[in-house]
Assembly symmetry: C2
């Protein structure tokens, strides 16, 4: 369920809406995992902590942007000056993202489940054998934005990869019609940790970043976005 | 991974090991969900918050028991005087429980996944179609305790049910060779909330409790346990 939506028509008093390199810009950020219910008690989840997306939302607001943060189930405080919408599933996240357009830039950091399953109305009983899951493809939020009439001027995707990190990111850049892919090498099991190892992939090539705290990744990414859309 | 184990040979300074109705007793409590990995980033989880199990561990320690709390992935502080072992999966939880025996009473509150899946070494790619999950039955920790040579003197199971709450609990009591089943009616979606609606099922019959805060459920249950094993 969508749990909370702050009024988003105007910058809040906390946001530096009238100064900073992103003043007057609307930045859309997704963060966290999605939870796809199996039955009333079970879900398919992922290990995304939401920390990287929240750090980016914080940095964007600090740079003067009006920020809409669409968050999956995480227990993180809302950064100052950020408008937050809480969702649980990929479908809810897609609807919230499309509802928040138009935006000058969209940074899709959330680890959205590729698949959901048909939800059982009551708790599945062990004696019935393993769950017979009926799978459905989830909406591809990044690709939908890439083809949207209100496509954001700068469309940034994230890719958490364990193998062939840059090759996979280049493929994703083309398939999703994104401008940049922030490829995150999670082979060292950093999901949920405090650092990220980033390769920024765009039509211009690949920029390899050193291992950085998520706050520094956010700061560097927001600086690059400000240069790009200013 | 097992993240932390406090030394458990002796009551800590905080525990009231030498007074209280459970003085000199060792109480084993499990709490929280288990996470069963699908691949390096995805897990099958459940909505258990761990709050009820943690409240029971706290109440047992306050009643003078030496308490071993075996916790699935939750972000809750360890109650005072409680020895905590953190685990992620059902198999890890089983091993930790068996390793903590003998115990005077075991209260199995954790929402243990019935099934795990064969874990993929690298992140499953969307283009390959829905995950072809190979299911394996998880160990039944309560049933294993029920038949264990070191079976705790009082064996208490929990059952979160959406339908036929008491009927299902009576079946579980027999199948698992438990002494009591604390049946929790979650049809009102209370998992993760602060109250529980309990039916205590034993060979003596069914005791229907009013809707109570989890701390009050813990207190009442520990009082009954103290009467039973004192």
């Amino acid at each position: 369920a969508i749990l909370a939506a702050l009024p988003l028509d105007k910058p809040t008093a906390d946001a530096k809406g009238e100064s900073g390199p992103l003043a007057g810009k609307h930045i859309l950020v997704t963060a966290g995992p999605t939870h796809e219910p199996i039955d009333p008690v079970r879900v398919i989840a992922n290990r995304s902590s939401g920390k990287q997306g929240f750090a980016i939302a914080r940095a964007a607001a600090a740079a003067g942007a009006r920020v809409t943060l669409i968050a999956g189930p995480v227990s993180l405080p809302t950064p100052p000056g950020v408008g937050r919408i809480d969702v649980e599933t990929a479908v809810q996240m897609r609807d919230a993202v499309m509802g928040a357009l138009p935006a000058d830039a969209a940074i899709m950091v959330a680890a959205v489940a590729d698949w959901r399953v048909e939800v059982a109305d009551s708790k599945l009983k062990k004696g019935k054998g393993p769950p017979a899951l009926e799978w459905h493809a989830n909406p591809d939020i990044l690709a939908e934005l890439g083809e949207h009439p209100d496509r954001p001027g700068l469309l940034v995707g994230f890719a958490a990869e364990t193998n062939d990190v840059v090759t996979n990111a280049k493929g994703k850049l083309e398939r999703k019609k994104a401008d940049w892919i922030v490829a995150n090498d999670v082979s060292g099991n950093v999901m949920g940790g405090d650092n990220n190892r980033i390769h920024l992939v765009s039509a211009d090539g690949v920029d390899d970043w050193e291992d950085l705290p998520k706050s520094a990744v956010a700061q560097r990414l927001i600086e690059k976005i400000a240069e790009s859309i200013a």
